[in-house]
Symmetry: C2
Subunit: 226 residues, 2 copies
């Protein structure tokens, strides 16, 4: 008789991948596109969401907010009348520094998936571990602020390599910084050749329309039957 061999799952990332696929199946059933939004602390994820969601009336959006503790960002976004769910990581090992697939899965019963076109998962502010844990998303967007320096793609390559769009934020501050945008973009291209980027400012509104259009396009692409 032919014996089927099953490889034993090897580590935490294998388990994470298994749960991410289960999340993915739920998102597919509900027909919702999912974006994993990541950055360092204070890069402007929430501010860029506030701006993009403000005039995004054509589609139904939900946000899953990941934070070590508190609900500061969720409170800001709730003013926009989008569905916001708060996920705190502090019951973990001293406060987990990232979301993983299982944490996202634990939040799914609180999210009205079938009412949504787009779910945005705002990850914990961190450039290391969030990149290692897929949560079942369609796309990864990372925000990199020009105040953080040109070297960041080289210092945190996994994060920049695994994202589908880079929002170069706080572009309005360029005249006041010793930041070499061309060098940043060259470093980004060295780490992730051809990855698209948008130059944006949550403060002045520069690039926000393009960022909003990108989100709508993610939903449209998803709506086309495979």
């Amino acid at each position: 008789m032919h014996i089927k061999k099953v490889r034993v799952v090897q580590d935490a990332l294998d388990a994470n991948a298994t749960i991410a696929r289960a999340n993915r199946a739920d998102f597919d059933r509900a027909g919702v596109a999912v974006v994993n939004l990541m950055s360092a602390p204070g890069s402007g994820k929430t501010a860029l969401l506030e701006k993009a969601l403000h005039h995004l009336d054509a589609i139904e959006v939900g946000v899953l907010e990941g934070d070590v503790q508190g609900s500061f960002d969720a409170d800001r976004l709730a003013r926009l009348h989008v569905s916001v769910t708060q996920l705190n990581t502090d019951p973990g090992f001293g406060g987990e520094c990232h979301l993983d697939a299982n944490m996202v899965r634990s939040a799914l019963p609180s999210i009205p998936l079938s009412d949504l076109d787009l779910l945005i998962i705002e990850n914990v502010g961190n450039l290391v571990c969030p990149a290692e844990f897929h949560v079942g998303e369609d796309a990864r967007v990372m925000v990199s602020s020009v105040t953080e320096g040109e070297d960041k793609p080289l210092k945190y390559p996994l994060m920049f390599r695994t994202c589908d769009l880079v929002l170069v934020n706080k572009i309005d501050l360029l005249p006041h910084l010793d930041f070499d945008l061309d060098r940043f973009l060259a470093n980004l291209d060295a780490v992730h050749p051809g990855v698209p980027h948008l130059q944006v400012s949550a403060r002045t509104g520069q690039g926000i329309d393009a960022w909003r259009d990108w989100l709508v396009q993610i939903v449209s692409r998803r709506a086309v039957p495979a």
Copy 2:
């Protein structure tokens, strides 16, 4: 016969504390003061070190650079003729997001401890996990840039609560930001009442003398026999 009871060490943080104490004993024997320097990515740790160490001729300083990969910051600091040791965390679980006591211990044979008055450990840029792992330091300094927003003490309370000095960096950018310094300082005081802070700018040099004086004072305090 009286039985001595020994509590079994319970978790990774217990193991870390044990190794941190061993590091501490080595630092004591060598008579070196140790500062653990922490911040989010791109807050300006390395730039503030460059400025402070440039005219710090009275004491012998070494730097242990913690990064996921590469030696960009170590290369910058090596130009100052201080002893620089690079510690990369990428052999860990997909790249560790923090230094722990054992990683620091593994670097000690490469550091000329007995020649130093002060060892500065530049941690991995992250506001979560570095706060959880003591490495045997005398003091913790964290850098928080005004570009990161006033809410950071409330969102990452452990980091702000366990530090002995906060460097509020990029203070030269205040006129160009919607950053409320009083609100930031109130949030800081709510999380860590009475913690000292210095308003600094690596770019303009504001506050750098006070930051350098603070480092010298840490060494002086240590040099006084207990």
